[in-house]
């Protein structure tokens, strides 16, 4: 088997960045439409109407759905025998640069000490890549361009084992109350429980990638997702925090086993413009883009 042309990986990366920033996934669009139908107040309906009009307009003129195209983050699942592992990182970086000028994306990567904007969305550790090595010879790429507004209200806390799952629920509810209108509700709430400080937040982020129509495969957790979904929508925070029936579009929970002494919990938010897209590149260079 020959090596894959690095241009193939790069072009696939550009294509999924483009798809993600312009076209919202179908599950998100459907949830927003349902939210619009369920709202009764003028203010809430007006916010969701603007959102739905904007989604349609972005698609028709092929412009990014939100000006905040985020810090570009990739989740990579690469087969151990994929013929081009050493090109992946470079391809993602090149694709980010090209996507920034061609789509275009907003340049969002700023050096924290000099405050200088790199201008092309690349920099130290950015775009960030989460690596996962799996069996096989194909490559799965997922991009999550996530805005700063929802990122700024992410929360983490080390609970004690005595706090238990009841404590976890309270922390999630408090996080949504504190976030209020800031993360552009209706949001998707991703929760990571267990592992360590780092693991729980990565799980919370990964939870945001799960489509809204898929509950956790574990019944106890699926039940908690539905319970929290109902409770959080009872807050009345509503679209954009201006009041209404839809505060969250969904709650997705992932977990890892915890240390005997700790119960870490992380809450990540995705704004209503919950952007994600994926592609698979096969060992022979063929590829398939998906993500709806």
């Amino acid at each position: 088997m020959g090596m894959i042309d690095p241009k193939v990986i790069e072009n696939v990366c550009i294509e999924i960045i483009r798809k993600a920033v312009i076209y919202l996934p179908d599950d998100v669009k459907n949830a927003l439409k349902t939210a619009y139908d369920n709202e009764v107040s003028d203010v809430a309906k007006a916010q969701l109407k603007a959102i739905l009009d904007n989604v349609k307009l972005a698609e028709s003129i092929e412009a990014p759905v939100c000006q905040d195209t985020g810090i570009i983050t990739f989740f990579v699942e690469v087969g151990a025998s994929f013929p081009g592992i050493n090109y992946i990182e470079k391809s993602i970086i090149n694709a980010t640069r090209t996507a920034t000028s061609k789509i275009p994306l907003r340049p969002n990567a700023v050096h924290p000490f000099t405050n200088k904007n790199s201008g092309d969305n690349t920099g130290h550790f950015i775009p960030y890549i989460h690596w996962n090595i799996v069996d096989g010879d194909s490559l799965k790429l997922t991009v999550m361009p996530k805005g700063g507004g929802s990122e700024n209200v992410c929360k983490f806390k080390m609970l004690t084992p005595a706090d238990g799952i009841d404590g976890v629920k309270k922390f999630i509810i408090n996080s949504v109350l504190e976030a209020n209108g800031m993360p552009c509700p209706p949001t998707i709430v991703g929760v990571g429980i267990g592992g360590g400080a780092d693991i729980s937040m990565v799980l919370a982020k990964k939870a945001l990638l799960r489509p809204l129509n898929k509950r956790s495969p574990e019944s106890q957790i699926a039940k908690m997702e539905m319970e929290l979904y109902n409770i959080l929508n009872e807050t009345g925070i509503g679209p954009m925090g201006l009041g209404g029936r839809t505060t969250v579009l969904g709650v997705n929970i992932e977990y890892a086993h915890r240390h005997i002494a700790s119960l870490p919990v992380a809450v990540a938010f995705n704004c209503w413009a919950a952007r994600r897209a994926s592609a698979v590149v096969y060992g022979d260079g063929a590829y398939k883009v998906y993500g709806d």
Partner: protein, 194 residues
């Protein structure tokens, strides 16, 4: 109530508005995020002159996506950014510049509300993330200052036509939609959080 206003706004324009009112703006608006707010106040405290006159104008918390075609800037997407980050500066910006409207999303704090009351201004919101919709009512880029801050943080001078709908969230009488919604939300959750 629904209003159509042209910039510059007068104090009585601003004082007419109440929370939940809808406004459409025509005229000129200036984008300013964290770094531009900081620079505005630095320039004022040095006693220097700002490159533009903000009196009666609207400040938009926004970092747009722009592209340059034949030396002309085109705004591709321009939704609002989270306003709370500008809370640190906004009181002084309203007080010293005579700004009549601050536009953003997510709400602002007590100091901004105080400035709205004392000097006659309002805080209004455009739907967060509705960036293409916002860009549709931007007729052209009249100019840009402080590009050294980077494209998102620069001060963009935008000519807009019927920019909105903008929801008045903090008025000049001390009312604040987010405060009301938030208070109710905590009350509703109090039994669960006990």
């Amino acid at each position: 109530m629904e209003y159509k206003f042209k910039t510059p706004l007068s104090e009585s324009d601003a004082r007419t508005l109440r929370i939940n009112d809808i406004v459409y703006l025509t005229g000129t608006i200036y984008t300013a995020r964290d770094q531009a707010h900081k620079r505005i106040l630095e320039i004022i405290s040095r006693g220097d002159i700002l490159p533009i006159d903000f009196r009666g104008m609207a400040i938009y918390h926004c970092g747009p996506i722009v592209k340059k075609i034949n030396d002309e800037w085109i705004v591709v997407a321009a939704g609002p950014t989270t306003s709370t980050r500008m809370e640190l500066y906004e009181y002084d910006v309203i007080r010293t510049l005579g700004v009549r409207m601050v536009i953003g999303k997510g709400g602002m704090g007590l100091r901004t509300a105080e400035a709205c009351k004392a000097y006659g201004a309002v805080y209004a919101e455009f739907t967060g993330g509705a960036a293409v919709l916002a860009a549709q009512s931007i007729r052209r880029v009249k100019g840009v200052e402080w590009l050294d801050l980077g494209v998102p943080e620069a001060l963009w001078i935008l000519e807009v036509e019927n920019f909105g709908p903008l929801t008045v969230v903090i008025d000049s009488y001390g009312a604040n939609i987010h405060e009301n919604v938030n208070k109710k939300a905590y009350e509703k959750m109090s039994s669960i959080l006990k």
